[in-house]
C-alpha cells in the first residue's frame, strides 16, 4: 500500500508565523530587562542627581526623555527604577510558579484527600482580597517590598494550581498515556516524558499573564508611595511624581506609564502567542486556513426544474477559497424517494448537502452550478433567501443526536420555538402539536419528554426528537447527514424503520448521506457514489450493488465487511 505524500512545510510555517509577534514581544522584554540590569552603565546621569534649573523640561538631546520636577533625568530614573520594580515581579513570579506547579502536579497525580485539600486551598487563595492583604503585609513589614511580593506570588498561585491540576488530570486520561503505560513506562518516566511536558505551555501562558498582573500591582504600590524608599525611584513612584505635575508636564505621565504599559503588553503578547502555538499543535491539520475570496456564483441557464422534482442539484461546484472541493455534482430527488449519497471522508458528500440548505461554513462558497428546491433557485442565497424554505420545505437531521439540541433548553421549549417560526400555528396550539410530533416518532410519554433536557435523553431518543424537530414545519424533503453513524446497531435499525414509515406516510423525499454501504442497501432506492468531490457512479441501489461499474465502487464494496457470506 502506498502512503500519501505528506506536505512537510505546512505545520512549521504556520508555527513560525503565529510566533512572529510573540518572539518580538519576548525580545522586547529581554531588552528592557537587560537595560535595567545595566542601569549603572547605561544611565546618562546619577539616579538622584538634581538640576533644579532644568526642572520639568521636555525631551532634548541632553535629556532624551526630559526631566522631572527636581530636574532629574527621567531616562536614568526609569532605568534605575526598573531594578526594584522588575526584581519585585521576579520574586512574585518565582513563588507563583513554584507553588502553583508543585501543588498542582501533586494534586493532579495523587488525587484523593490531598487533591481535595489542595483544591480547597486554591479556592481560598482565589477568593482572598489580594491587594488588601498585600497592604497588610506591607504595613506589618514596615514597607519592605520583598515580603509583599512573596505574598503576591502566593495569593496569585491559586489559579495556576487549578490550571496545572486540570492539565495533569486531562493528560492522564489521554489515550497516549494509556498506551505509554501499556508500553511499560513507570510513574517517574511517565511524569517526565508525557505529563510534565504537557503542562509547560499552560504554565508559561499563566506565568506571562501573572507577570503582567504583578507588574501592575508592583507599580500600583509604587504609585501609592508604598514600599518605596525615597528618593530612590520605582516605575510606579515615577508615575506618582508625574501625577503631581499633571497640569505642567503631561508628557512625564506618558513616558512613565507608557513604559509600564509596553512591558505588560509585551508579556501579554508572549502568553497569547504561546496559546496559539499550543493550540495549533493539537489540531490535526496544523496549517492555517486560506483566506476566503468569495466568488460570485455563476448561474448557467441550466435545465428548468422538472415537474415533481423536490430537489435539483445541477453542476454544483463548491470551493474553499481557491481550492475546489466539489465539482460537477448533479442529481434530482423526487417525492417519496430515498437517495443515498455515499463516500469516504473528504468525498464532498456532506459539504454538498449542507450547500442545499445554505449552511456552508463561512470560508466555503458555491462557485458554480445551481440548486433548486422545488422551483426556487436557492444557489448562494442568504438567510433571508432561505426564509420559508428551511423548516417548512426542507428539514435536517445530523450525525450526533446528543449535540443536535441546545443543552440549555428543554425539548419542549426548542420544539415549540421551531413550531413558532416554521408554522403558522397560534401559540395555544403549539404544545398539542409538539406532543403529536413526539408521538409520531414513537417516543413513549411525549408530555414527559417535552420537559426533559437533551442530556436526560439516550442517543436513540435524542435522534427521534431531532427528527420531530425536522418534521415540525411539515417539509417535503428531509436531509439526513449520517443520522445513524453514532448509534448502536439495534437503535440504528429503529431509526431507519421510522424514516421508511415517514416516507410511506408523507411521501417524504430523503437525501441520505452515509459512509456505510450496508445502511445504503437497507434504506436507499437510488445511490450516488462520490470520491474527491465528484460523482463516480450513480444508479438504482439494486443495480449498483449487483453490477458496480466504477472501479472505486467495486473497491468500496469489496472492502465493506458483510455479516452474511456472499452466496
Amino acid at each position: 500500500m502506498t502512503v500519501a505524500p505528506i506536505s512537510d512545510g505546512r505545520v512549521r510555517t504556520g508555527r513560525i508565523r503565529t510566533n512572529g509577534l510573540a518572539v518580538g514581544a519576548l525580545a522586547f522584554v529581554a531588552l528592557v530587562v537587560l537595560a535595567v540590569a545595566l542601569a549603572p552603565v547605561l544611565s546618562p546621569y546619577g539616579v538622584n542627581k538634581q538640576d533644579l534649573v532644568r526642572a520639568l523640561e521636555g525631551p532634548s538631546a541632553s535629556h532624551v526623555l526630559g526631566t522631572d520636577s527636581l530636574g532629574r533625568d527621567v531616562l536614568s530614573r526609569l532605568l534605575w527604577g526598573g531594578q526594584p520594580t522588575l526584581l519585585g515581579v521576579l520574586v512574585a513570579l518565582i513563588v507563583f510558579v513554584v507553588v502553583g506547579v508543585v501543588l498542582g502536579v501533586l494534586a493532579g497525580t495523587l488525587g484523593g484527600w490531598f487533591d481535595a485539600l489542595v483544591s480547597g486551598i486554591a479556592d481560598i487563595l482565589m477568593s482572598l482580597p489580594g491587594v488588601v492583604l498585600i497592604f497588610a503585609v506591607l504595613a506589618i513589614f514596615n514597607q519592605e517590598l520583598t515580603p509583599a511580593m512573596i505574598a503576591l506570588g502566593l495569593l496569585g498561585s491559586g489559579s495556576l494550581i487549578r490550571v496545572v491540576r486540570a492539565t495533569v488530570i486531562g493528560v492522564r486520561e489521554e489515550l497516549f498515556v494509556s498506551a505509554a503505560i501499556v508500553s511499560g513506562l513507570g510513574p517517574v518516566r511517565l511524569m517526565a516524558r508525557h505529563i510534565l511536558p504537557a503542562t509547560f505551555a499552560p504554565v508559561i501562558i499563566q506565568a506571562s499573564l501573572f507577570a503582567g498582573a504583578a507588574l501592575a500591582v508592583q507599580s500600583g504600590l509604587g504609585f501609592l508611595s508604598l514600599g518605596v524608599h525615597p528618593p530612590d525611584p520605582t516605575w510606579g513612584s515615577i508615575v506618582g511624581e508625574a501625577a503631581a505635575n499633571l497640569a505642567k508636564a503631561p508628557w512625564l505621565l506618558f513616558v512613565s506609564g507608557g513604559t509600564i504599559t509596553l512591558v505588560s503588553l509585551a508579556l501579554a503578547l508572549v502568553g497569547d502567542g504561546l496559546r496559539d502555538v499550543s493550540a495549533a499543535r493539537r489540531r490535526s491539520d496544523g496549517g492555517a486556513r486560506t483566506p476566503v475570496r468569495p466568488v460570485a456564483a455563476t448561474r448557467p441557464a441550466g435545465a428548468p426544474a422538472q415537474e415533481g422534482v423536490v430537489l435539483s442539484v445541477q453542476q454544483l461546484e463548491i470551493s474553499f477559497g481557491e481550492r475546489v472541493v466539489v465539482r460537477g455534482v448533479s442529481f434530482d430527488l423526487r417525492p417519496g424517494e430515498i437517495l443515498g449519497l455515499v463516500g469516504e471522508s473528504g468525498s464532498g458528500k456532506t459539504i454538498s448537502t449542507l450547500a442545499t440548505l445554505g449552511l456552508l461554513p463561512a470560508n466555503a462558497s458555491i462557485t458554480g452550478g445551481r440548486i433548486l428546491i422545488g422551483s426556487d433557485d436557492v444557489t448562494g442565497a442568504d438567510d433571508r433567501g432561505f426564509e420559508g424554505i428551511r423548516g417548512r420545505r426542507v428539514g435536517l437531521i445530523s450525525q450526533e443526536p446528543m449535540v443536535a439540541l441546545d443543552p440549555l433548553f428543554t425539548v419542549g421549549s426548542q420544539l415549540m420555538e421551531v413550531l413558532r417560526y416554521s408554522t403558522s400555528l397560534p401559540a395555544s396550539q403549539r404544545r398539542g402539536r409538539a406532543i403529536e410530533l413526539l408521538t409520531r416518532v414513537h417516543l413513549p410519554d411525549p408530555a414527559g419528554v417535552l420537559r426533559k433536557f437533551p442530556h436526560e435523553l439516550s442517543g436513540g431518543m435524542a435522534q427521534r426528537v431531532a427528527i420531530a424537530v425536522a418534521l415540525a414545519g411539515d417539509p417535503e424533503l428531509l436531509i439526513a447527514d449520517e443520522p445513524t453513524t453514532a448509534l448502536d446497531v439495534t437503535v440504528q435499525a429503529g431509526i431507519l424503520d421510522l424514516l421508511r414509515e415517514l416516507r410511506a406516510e408523507r411521501n417524504l423525499a430523503v437525501l441520505f448521506v452515509t459512509h456505510d454501504l450496508a445502511v445504503v442497501a437497507d434504506i436507499c432506492d437510488r445511490v450516488i457514489v462520490m470520491q474527491n468531490g465528484a460523482i463516480v457512479e450513480s444508479g438504482s441501489a439494486e443495480e449498483l450493488f449487483a453490477n458496480p461499474q466504477a472501479a472505486y465502487t467495486r473497491e468500496l464494496l469489496a472492502s465493506t465487511p458483510s455479516l452474511v457470506r456472499a452466496s
Binding site: 497588610a136 504595613a139 501609592l224 428551511r390 426542507v394 443536535a404 414545519g473
Partner: protein, 313 residues
Amino acid sequence: MLRLLARRLLLSIPLLLVVTAITFFLQSLIPGDPARSLLGPSATPQQYEALRQALHLDQPVIVQYLNSIGGVLHGDLGRSIFTGEDVGQTLANRLPVSLSLIVGGTLVALLIGILLGVLSATRGRLLARFIDVFSLVGGALPNFWVGLVLAAIFAVTLALLPATGYVPFEESPGDWARALILPVIALALSGIATIAKVVRDGVSTAIGQDFVRTLRAAGVPRRVLIWKHALRNSSVSLVTVVGVIFVASLSGTILVENVFVLPGLGSLAVAATARQDIPVIQGVALAFTVITIVVNLLVDVSYGLLNPKVRAR
C-alpha cells in the same frame, strides 16, 4: 447544586479565619508597639500600661485573636489605632463610595463587553481583529495610569468633568454621576476587554455547533439563534468572568480611588497602611472578603440557574 453551595459556604469559614488570622498574627511581628507609637516618647509608664490594658495588648496573642473574633461576631471591629474612630462605622461610611464604583464599573464592562463581543462574533473579521487588539491592550493598561490619563484629558485639558472628589448620591445625583464617570471608565476598561473576548469566543463557538445548525435548518431566524441560544450558551463562562472581574475590581478600586481622591474603602486602606493602622486594614480586608464570598455565592447560584446539568446535582 446544593452540594456546590454547601461547599462554598463551608469554604468561606476557613477563608474568613485565614484573612483575620493573617492580618492578626502578622501584626505581632511588627517591631515596636502601637501603644508606644500612639502615646509618643513623653508618656509616663502608668499611661503606657493603662493604654496597653485598654487595647488588650498585655494579653497573649492567641487570646487577643480570639477576643477580636468574638468582637467581629458581635459586629465590633475595634477602633483605629490612629484616629480612635470605630472601624465598623468608618467602613459603613465609606462602603457606598467603593460599591458605586465597583458595581458601576462591572455593569459598564458587562454592557459594552457583551455588545462588542456579540458584534465581533457575528460581523466580520475587522471588528474581531479590533477586539483582539483591544482586549490585549485593555488588559495591559494599568488602571491607575488610565485614570490619570483620563483626568489629564477630560478634567485638566478639556475641563469637562471633575478630576477629584466625591458627591454623595443623596446630595446631588447629577454631581454624583459626574464624579464617578471617569473612575468608572478607568475601572471598567480591562473588564470590557475581558468580557468582549469571552463573549466573542463563546458566541462564535456556539454558532459553529450542531444544535445551532439544527435549529437554523428548522427555520429559526438568525437573530434568535445569536441573542438567545448562542449568548445563553456562553453565559456560564460569562458569569465566571463577571465574578472574577468584580473581585478584581476590589483591588482595582484601591488605586482608582486614590487617583480621583474618592473617600472609599481603598483610600482608607492606603492611608491605614502608610501609618500601620492594623485594625483598619483588618476591617477593610474583612469587608472585601465578605464581598468576595457573596459574589462567589451569587456566581454559583447563577451556574445552577443557567445550566440544567448543574441544577440536577
